[in-house]
């Protein structure tokens, strides 16, 4: 679920977020990134070409709805995979699709419940309040409760596979990526997409996560209403609060921002360590911020939930352990286990990987090694940017053409990149040590 206010994101912030994400988590996640860098890191004529292509491709895709758009957006999320020109274009995409017409919304309700929305709710706003990539959100009221009703575009589920088949060759050609590079990623995206179209699944997940994380302080989860939900309609509480940009425009105090950042950090730590299940879409549109009780975060949209297998969880946590960074041989062992380094690698290549990964890990894992961490620290951001640029420039790295590491790291990576960028925008100081 994303908000229209995103449209007004200052360009500098978008650019910042994009640059930030470019760095990514290099922890075992040089999965697809190499290729993107090959694509992006080229000289300027290519960059111009990308920009022209992006505008053209975007023009085509923006007229479509549903899964094509969603694929584009997911590719945009994984900015490392996509030249920046495309990423920026696709980011806009979800705000420019025409909304579902009133009669179609009515039809969706009649299909699901046999009644029109005005019969089901005491009040139902025919105009959508927000657009989401595979649906839109309406405001409704029943029994004195404010409700958010998500309605899915028709035919999204049915068309995902054909849409992906359609978008794939275009993506491959225009982005200059290889088929085998994109294949595992596309497969993962397709699986997630199909899940996202299943509102019943989202409902049960939303309820489950809310039950498991309800005890965490300063977090708020909507109650879902199964009787008012179906495969294409999802009804939940309308949470109070504003999206990031609007909220920050009201200049909340540092204490409030810290508390919000802390709530987010604890939420993700708890999910990764205890639940092994992640709300894997830390998009700014999926959180609502309010001043309630000194800062409360509302969590929306459980369409994209990633289960992390125990092995990958252990590897990921071990990599972030301070002791790992201090001990090169331990790091090496871990990377071999994770499949990033291979026994057959020539010594020079192995050294190159180790050097790069140590560098990334030092920087990206830094918040995990300290008691508290200031995400608003400009110096930290600067060094992240610098690292991103260094990696881009690295000739040896750019010559590596095969993906390495587990596919699960793709989503772990995406989740933490998203989280870091949220915290950075909040400028929060966070106690990063896990209290368990």
């Amino acid at each position: 679920m994303a908000d229209q206010s995103q449209e007004s994101l200052p360009t500098s912030k978008v650019a910042r977020a994009a640059r930030f994400a470019k760095t990514g988590f290099k922890v075992g996640a040089n999965y697809v990134q190499h290729y993107a860098k090959k694509a992006v890191g080229a000289d300027s004529p290519t960059a111009d070409l990308h920009e022209a292509n992006a505008a053209e491709l975007y023009g085509t895709l923006s007229e479509m709805k549903g899964s094509v758009l969603k694929v584009a957006q997911m590719l945009a999320m994984e900015k490392n995979l996509l030249p920046p020109a495309y990423a920026a274009q696709f980011k806009q995409a979800q705000y420019q699709t025409p909304p579902l017409s009133g009669p179609l919304v009515v039809k969706a309700f009649r299909d699901a419940f046999g009644h029109s929305p005005s019969q089901i709710f005491d009040k139902f706003e025919p105009e959508a309040r927000q657009a989401a990539s595979i649906g839109q959100v309406h405001f409704a009221r029943k029994m004195g409760k404010d409700l958010a009703v998500k309605v899915q575009y028709p035919g999204v589920g049915a068309s995902i596979q054909s849409d992906i088949a359609m978008v794939k060759p275009v993506a491959l050609r225009i982005m200059g990526l290889k088929e085998e590079t994109l294949r595992p990623y596309i497969a993962e995206v397709e699986a997630r997409l199909l899940e996202e179209t299943d509102y019943k699944l989202e409902l049960s997940r939303g309820q489950a996560v809310a039950a498991k994380c309800g005890h965490l302080p300063h977090l708020q989860f909507p109650t879902y209403y199964p009787a008012l939900s179906g495969a294409r309609i999802l009804t939940m509480d309308w949470l109070p609060g504003q999206h990031m940009t609007e909220f920050l425009a009201g200049s909340p105090s540092q204490e409030v921002r810290n508390q919000l950042g802390q709530a987010l950090w604890d939420f993700y730590q708890y999910q990764l360590r205890e639940l092994r299940q992640l709300h894997a879409d830390p998009h700014p549109g999926n959180f609502l911020f309010s001043l309630t009780a000194g800062g409360t975060v509302g969590v929306l949209d459980f369409g994209c939930v990633k289960n992390v297998p125990p092995l990958e969880q252990q590897q990921f946590l071990a990599l972030l352990d301070p002791a790992t960074l201090a001990d090169p041989s331990r790091l090496e062992t871990l990377l071999v286990e994770a499949g990033v380094l291979r026994p057959a690698d020539p010594a020079a290549l192995r050294a190159m990987y180790l050097r790069t990964l140590t560098q990334s890990l030092e920087l990206v894992g830094r918040p995990f090694r300290q008691e508290t961490f200031d995400f608003g620290d400009p110096a930290y951001l600067q060094s992240l940017y610098a690292l991103g640029d260094d990696l881009m420039q690295d000739q040896d790295l750019r010559q590596q053409r095969e993906p390495r590491g587990s596919a699960h790291f793709v989503y772990l990576n995406r989740t933490y990149v998203g989280l870091f960028s949220l915290l950075t925008e909040l400028g929060a100081v966070v106690r990063t040590q896990y209290q368990g």
């Binding site: 009133g102 009649r110 028709p154």
Partner: protein
């Protein structure tokens, strides 16, 4: 026997057997009436087919207008609401739809059979009403002479949607819903004030200058 009972009996036969009764006599006999009595109400089975379609159209209009939100709808939304309601009715009668439309499909796929004749006439009237309303609110551009042809454009749209529905194989015919949404948006972009009107206005201005 009342014609109100004759029609459902015939439609039921048609749906069960996948074809019309062999003869009017056989059908009338099964209903316990004489062949002559049948002709007092209908000249042939084809007449009942046509009437069934007219009924669908009227029912769709009535049902759509019963929706509380109807009063607040503009012209575009009224047409959409009509289509969606119609499709809902057709979904419940899909066997009949396939039989009456599908038969002509094999020979000339894009041809709409005669069975839709009266249904289409009433649809055209409905569209004229809606467009009239749309012109009053400014949703539809007023274009003398040209706008007389709009009825035909919307008729083609209706035919397109019906054919799409006949061929649609997606679950719950969701693709047809999407097709309706897009087709109606396009048509109202065309009949609304757009580039064409500005071009016409510009052309008129140039001509006046010469005179």
């Amino acid at each position: 026997m009342e014609p109100t009972l004759l029609k459902p009996a015939y439609l039921d036969y048609l749906r069960r057997h996948g074809r019309a009764p062999k003869t009017v006599f056989a059908f009338a006999d099964a209903q316990g009436i004489t062949e002559g009595e049948f002709y007092r109400h209908y000249a042939s089975f084809a007449v009942i087919d046509r009437e069934a379609w007219v009924d669908f159209g009227r029912e769709a209009r009535t049902q759509a207008a019963e929706e509380p939100a109807w009063q607040g709808y503009g012209a575009r939304e009224k047409l959409l609401a009509f289509y969606y309601t119609l499709l809902e009715i057709l979904k419940n009668n899909r066997s009949f739809v396939l039989l009456t439309l599908g038969r002509s499909q094999k020979r000339k796929p894009a041809l709409i059979p005669k069975v839709l004749g009266n249904f289409e006439d009433e649809f055209k009237e409905f569209v004229q009403e809606i467009l009239q309303e749309g012109r009053a609110t400014g949703e539809v551009a007023s274009r003398p002479f040209l706008q007389d042809g709009y009825g035909r454009i919307f008729l083609r749209q209706l035919q397109f949607i019906l054919l799409y529905f006949v061929r649609d194989e997606s679950a719950n015919f969701e693709r047809t819903d999407a097709a309706v949404e897009k087709a109606v948006t396009l048509s109202f972009d065309l009949v609304g004030r757009n580039t064409f009107d500005s071009a016409l206005d510009f052309g008129r201005f140039l001509l006046q200058k010469r005179a």
